[in-house]
Symmetry: C2
Subunit: 381 residues, 2 copies
Amino acid sequence: MTVAARRTIPAERYRDRLAGVVAAAAAARLDALLISVGSDLRYLTGYEAMPLERLTLLVILPGEAPRIVVPRLERAAAEAGIRTSLEIVTWEETDDPHALATSGIPAHGRVAVSDTMLAMHLLAIQQALGADVRYSLASAVLRDLRMIKDADEIALLREAAHAADRVIAAIAAGRLVGRTEADVAAEVRARLIDEGHETAQFAIVASGPNSASPHHEASERVIGAGEPIVLDIGGTLAGYGSDVTRTLWVTGGDATNGPDEQFRHLFAVLHTAQAAATTAVRPGMSCESIDTTARAIIDAEGYGEAFFHRTGHGIGLEGHEEPYLVAGNSLPLRTGMAFSVEPGIYLQGTYGARIEDIVVCGDDGPIVLNEAPRELVVVDG
Amino acid sequence: MTVAARRTIPAERYRDRLAGVVAAAAAARLDALLISVGSDLRYLTGYEAMPLERLTLLVILPGEAPRIVVPRLERAAAEAGIRTSLEIVTWEETDDPHALATSGIPAHGRVAVSDTMLAMHLLAIQQALGADVRYSLASAVLRDLRMIKDADEIALLREAAHAADRVIAAIAAGRLVGRTEADVAAEVRARLIDEGHETAQFAIVASGPNSASPHHEASERVIGAGEPIVLDIGGTLAGYGSDVTRTLWVTGGDATNGPDEQFRHLFAVLHTAQAAATTAVRPGMSCESIDTTARAIIDAEGYGEAFFHRTGHGIGLEGHEEPYLVAGNSLPLRTGMAFSVEPGIYLQGTYGARIEDIVVCGDDGPIVLNEAPRELVVVDG
């Protein structure tokens, strides 16, 4: 088992991030910014609290030092996990933590909450604060900070990408024909963990006609010779996401079982579109323009209807986060943004293909983190 | 690698569950029950959608057949994943899915939402429905169904428990002294996956003084000879949670490094308390009485202040769910409820211990799913 050296973000970075979000909350004239367990909390404090039903909440009020409310049994974990200076307030198992956490917020206030706060907490906070408070999502003040990855974050994304690339290579080199998708997916998950991921969040193994379903769940279907397999795999390594897609074709060792003409054409179009979209990445280009670049090429070859999802999503401490490369998003790319570029072409009932890399917007153009070959990989399987 | 046979809940069970929740929503006079991605959706339909930012929502309105709103790119996955009869409504990448999902809900309605619905969706739904709708948590109507596990669910919980037990045994038999907690935690995660878990959600490895922190995050601390290690590990197998805690003591091969008198006493009290709480489980006993049983024994030995969390939590498709074994919860236990029994004693700055099993309330008493020995395991390490 390979255990990656444990990399960390320097402690002073959390101080700077917290100061940045306090300033952003003040600029947005928020009366409270409430950050629940999840990637926002980890981003701002380093604390990886478990997403459980007991309330843990970072409370940022104007003119006050930020404080974090945690269950008493989590105090030691919070002290160990929080990597910046922060007052810790604890509650006992039979206390009302939502009342405790929201004290001091005005009855007509404007309150922003983490996008991933659970309804059980949001409804309890709404109950505690009364009907006159207006709510918004914390991403409005956090996105400008979180979208721009610094060098340490990019290094972690690269490490995660390379680990996932190695899993793709191992799966492509192994036996596939005669195994179920679910069995291959289990191997993917085990290999991601062996490669240092702490979680293996998804392992799409979509064979034959299933490859036409973008988010196919690995099933009991037995992989046959003479068909494509879309592998879309990922998880987190030191908190940062991996997410890579490659399309294989398995022949079962019989060269007459190679890809047919239609698939070769479809794949060539896809490969061109994915490369063009990647090449288009540079500061100032809009998110939607990257989507348009891929889509125009696929449309021109008559596959427009067969590419029915956006071209990509941001990635960092969340597997999907801003920016989204989708029609209607005029946000300009900036140096340090990290996202997937992943067009796909899906012929329902027949087969499909997708190619996905994680790309960082560099000063002069794209920095592609994945290194696994993007060409159609034809293997015996 | 051991890949467990893929077990499933029979399809007709989903039909019955969905019918049960439709009836419960009607009895509660709800104008809408909105079930987002997560364990509620999986429980009712079998569909394991990924918890992403795109809206997937099961919509149950009075007098109408339930329908599920999904992103178009998820249609095939939804068709494959949903194991009962259900209308699927799709939305395109640039549509407003929250408006689509909430059409037909009255402006003064009573709406229940999944406890784990994300704020990004709940706030958008609140925006779409206006200020006069009243919200509540779906658990109010789902808990009576979900708390009672049927024989298939108990079989899956048992399979998960035994897999986790084997990981505990393997870790206890291996080298520990001289390794970091984080390194051992990585091995725990890899072994859980190898044992057929699809996720390894937590791997608490709390050594020496860290064992006094109930939710310690495995750190770079190097495990030494002559100290305890609390292992609290788990994840999901076929969707159902494992969660087991055992306390080891590592001597480094030197018998003079065995547990001291205080630790032996502390552990003996804990062992007695955990066994007594387990033995007290039977239909009709209140949840809080199980907590009281453990607490009374620990209190009587002077460790009351050192046991500062509830005795247990329900488990099923969520790692923590109802019922909670906590002071103030007068809910009577019923046959088929499944929960942890996990008292702990923590001496801050010194050390601590915890023992945890998953227990099912049987007709005549407790059915303990975990089989790993509960005694203090003294090993060379």
